[in-house]
Amino acid sequence: MNGLLLTTQQALQLLLYGDAELWTIVLLSFSVSLKAILLTTPFALLLAFGLNHGNFPGSRIILAFFNSLLSVPTVVVGLFLYVLLTRQGPFGDLKLLFTQSAMVIGQMILCFPVLVALGYAAIQAADRRVWETARTLGAPTWFTILTIFYEVRFGLLAAVLTGFGRVISEVGISMMVGGNIMGYTRNITTAIALETSKGEFAQGIALGLVLLSLAFILTAFLSYIQSKQGVTK
């Protein structure tokens, strides 16, 4: 128990006194995951919208497919991507293995189903009349879509935040296709894995604390906007 207190104390010191290596890792984690979520969101939400309003045959099956991908293990995505990106693989010429880009791509694959499934649920909550009214008033399609997105912005935001939570906390993809290169592809989770293997628990716990605080902030933010949504309705 004493050891736990001591390591936590050391961890806080590392965080507060701005250990450069530690903060490099934190920034890298955020940079990669933000890129992944920002690049994925527009496509995923448009697909979610299409599935909702398109009413084309097979849309149910596509949705079920994305729902089942919600719980895909990250190491499976990592392995899948590794096989694709390895030098002998189909995309080997792109030289993407062990780069940040590979991590971004992997995390995009990971958060895409989350955004589609949760985005779909959010858009479904929109009043169908919004679409009809906007169209009747002569709004172009893209504007109508944006209007609907604005109507359900809280739900969409919740979807994006959940997706972000999923990618920032994953370790399998980052480890496999990033390679845990210091200063280049080492992020919070792979660093924790490494530091633990070296027995440097303090640094691991410090990074864990960053992730935990992020989880708290995201959850608090989510419940805040949900309470706000209650007021507006």
């Binding site: 002998q88 062990f98 293997s197 070296k198 027995g199």
Partner: protein, 266 residues
């Protein structure tokens, strides 16, 4: 506010794009965890302007990365596997770089009574005869290969009842041996880094069988024309130069010299 956000976004997307072709070095956990590369690489980068990306995995995995052309150069410690790697045409220009040694560690009360034993094979036989817990890396690393070789020499096939194959890096394996009060075999570097956190004791050392030579091998550019062969060769050249070798010799961990350079014969 919007402008700041835009600049921040642009920064996120562009950072990492502006970078010279890096040299990808696949190496073993022992060279990386000991801190040796952290000391050496910055000198090399400063003098040559190259950027080195270090991927630290087990020897087997590192060689596999080289075989697949996913890295430019490998720094490993498993002579037999290295020879196969070169003979198969995956790598070339193999140079001896340095050596250190393996040691056998175990619980402080030493139930196998191997303390002070200078014959590694005999030590393992004692552990096996007593059916005492033994942690094996089990990850096809250089250390694992050495351990399997020693079991073969000891003419003993480890049994599941006391032999724990953990499939993890050296640091993790030492921790597990510590928790299980088990024996294990480790490179001296990782042992020195970790020993303050462990209640295990260094029990057997000094056998010529425990010699642990490291080599550096460039990946064959004929197989993968797009790899950074020139970068790999300049890293090899620097590490085997007088300066590189001196820096290896002068590297200290907890006040102890850890690696003895072997590239240049006097």
């Amino acid at each position: 506010m919007k402008k700041t956000l835009l600049v921040a976004l642009l920064y996120f997307f562009c950072a990492g794009l502006v970078q010279a072709e890096p040299i990808r070095l696949a190496t073993t956990t022992s060279t990386d965890n000991s801190g040796l590369l952290k000391v050496l690489i910055p000198y090399f980068e400063k003098q040559t302007g190259h950027v080195v990306h270090v991927l630290s995995v087990g020897t087997g995995h590192a060689l596999r990365m080289g075989q697949d052309g996913n890295v430019d150069v490998v720094l490993v410690h498993a002579p037999t596997a290295e020879m196969r790697f070169v003979d198969a045409g995956y790598g070339l220009n193999r140079r001896n770089l340095m050596y250190n040694d393996f040691v056998i560690v175990g619980p402080a009360d030493d139930p196998a009574n191997i303390h002070g034993e200078n014959n590694a094979v005999r030590s393992l036989q004692k552990i096996a005869r007593g059916k005492l817990l033994f942690v094996s890396r089990g990850d096809d690393s250089g250390t694992h290969k050495k351990e399997l070789y020693l079991w073969k020499k000891a003419k003993w096939i480890p049994e599941l009842s006391w032999y724990r194959e953990v499939g993890q890096g050296m640091g993790r394996a030492l921790q597990m041996a510590n928790e299980l009060n088990a024996y294990t075999i480790t490179d001296r570097g990782t042992w020195l880094v970790m020993r303050s956190q462990l209640s295990l004791k260094l029990l057997a050392e000094g056998d010529a069988e425990l010699y642990n030579p490291y080599s550096i091998i460039a990946v064959n550019p004929a197989r993968y024309p797009s790899i950074n062969y020139l970068g790999a060769m300049s890293l090899i050249a620097w590490l085997t130069s007088v300066e590189g070798q001196n820096r290896i010799r002068n590297f200290r961990l907890e006040g102890q010299a850890l690696f003895i350079p072997t590239a240049i014969k006097n």
